[in-house]
Amino acid sequence: MRRLVLLAALLGALASPTLAGTPRLTVFAAASLTDVFPQIDSHARYSFAGSNALAAQIRQGLPADDFASANVTLPDQLYEAGLVEKPILFTANTLVMIARKGNPDHLHGIYSLGGNSDLKIVMAAKGVPVGDYTRTVLAKANLSGLVGRAVSQETDVREVLAKVALGEADVGFVYATDANTVPGQVAVFAIPRQYEPKVNYAAAAVTSSPHLAAAEAWVKRLQGKTAQAKLRAAGFLVPGRG
């Protein structure tokens, strides 16, 4: 789905000349940043998707100026491959469990999932950052069996959110900030503190960008006061904790 948005963005890129002086940057960003990034910079063009899909697109040479990932591993791998500049941490998040609106299944957290085998659980696929965090949490909580019970392995966090918000699935695992974007439409449960994964976001300029200086400035800007205030307002956290 988001690939279509990308295509539209690329066509737009061909059609519109850059504004005088400031090049219009193309930012590949984790799906969880869908709402907040346009608030930080409404001028850039965005392609939101699972960070792993975006990293794969950068590896295949799709034109991006910046990459913002919901983990540190993917930008680090691209950095080692010489495809992006040195990544910087710019924000963090927490994983939560969500259930359908009004919690009709009377759940009270991850440990209430084991008993009810009729529950439709969705999570992101392995390799998608939120999917990997979900697996880590469930493994630590001795609930790895739930992974095999998932009825769908989604390609990004917003697909998980949509399936639960629409009521097609009963339970899902998303970031706290995703749940915030649909207030009242899902019930939110915190992950027990001892199992909470460290969700850090890293961004980097893409080495092949024709506007590398601007792309690097864009990454720096994410650490600035304005951007950090917007991130905090959306529920994102200060990076590097734990």
């Binding site: 789905m1 279509l4 699972g50 792993n52 899909a53 990293a55 794969a56 590896r59 295949q60 439709k120 969705v122 696929a125 390799g127 998608v128 998932a150 009825v151 769908s152 392995q153 989604e154 390609t155 697909e159 399936k163 629409l166 009521g167 097609e168 699935a169």
Partner: protein, 274 residues
């Protein structure tokens, strides 16, 4: 003279660009890695599972399309009633709908909070995120292709031949199975091949309404989308497989359409004037 020559060259250049543009992406799938490496990817569980799910769901959808679509097409082809044009247009609409709209429509109709969601829940049925949802998505996007072709095929059957069969004492059922169906079968087969190809390629409505789970709801296009981020060789292999299957269906379609039925009832049926 020179101008004509230049014009001719331009036409050729334009035609070459158009053809190259259409052929190149398909060839590129095969050129990127060696056939041996592609073949090796085909034995990966994610590929074999996706192939099985694709064939299963598309197969079931085709049976439904044939069983329900054939009578519907026959009715629409043989009856004239007010609003027929509107009905035919409505039937064809899913053909031109974006797959994402089809997905939203299916959720709005058959999802848990959809129009029929309450009724289905009362019957203990939850369609969303199940293999049945894949079948529905495939049937929804593919059936108009069959219906369209089948209506045309039934319309081409000479009403005089049908009337003659009835006059000679054949009942409506016998007339349909012994006269109409054999005459229309080429068109029906062509429509079926098109619907099968479209069903195999279904992506948008499926990922929205049925989700993606290896071995359950993950068809080949969904597996390609998911593996793109993980293993590019595997996505190339699956793409190559779909190209070959689609090409085979297309060739079968062309052969079927050119092939004259051997037990035709009347030579005049296929005369140029009709």
């Amino acid at each position: 003279m020179m101008r004509r020559l230049a014009g001719g060259t331009l036409v050729f250049a334009a035609a070459f660009v158009a053809l190259a543009f259409l052929v190149l992406p398909v060839l590129a799938i095969f050129a990127r890695v060696s056939p041996g490496r592609l073949a090796a990817q085909l034995s990966k569980p994610i590929v074999t599972d996706a192939l099985r799910i694709s064939l299963e769901t598309t197969g079931i959808a085709q049976v439904l399309i044939l069983l329900l679509g054939t009578p519907a097409a026959y009715l629409l082809a043989s009856r004239r009633f007010r609003g027929r044009g509107v009905v035919v247009t409505l039937v064809e609409l899913p053909l031109v709908l974006p797959p994402a709209v089809a997905g939203i429509g299916l959720i709005a109709a058959f999802g848990r909070f959809g129009l029929l969601g309450g009724t289905l829940s009362a019957l203990g049925i939850r369609l969303g995120l199940t293999q049945a949802a894949v079948v529905l998505a495939v049937a929804f996007v593919a059936s108009p292709l069959y219906l369209r072709q089948a209506i045309t095929a039934f319309e081409a059957v000479d009403p005089d031949v049908v009337a003659a069969a009835r006059t000679l004492g054949a009942g409506p059922g016998r007339t349909f199975f012994r006269v109409v169906l054999p005459l229309a079968r080429n068109g029906l087969a062509a429509g079926e091949a098109l619907a099968f190809a479209r069903g195999l390629g279904e992506f948008g409505a499926t990922i929205m309404f049925a989700g993606s789970l290896q071995g359950v709801t993950q068809t080949l296009p969904l597996a390609i989308y998911q593996e793109f981020a993980v293993n590019f060789d595997a996505t190339l292999a699956m793409s190559a497989l779909l190209v070959l299957v689609s090409a085979a269906l297309l060739v079968a379609l062309k052969v079927t359409l050119q092939w004259q039925p051997s037990q035709r009832t009347s030579r005049f049926l296929f005369a140029p004037s009709s």
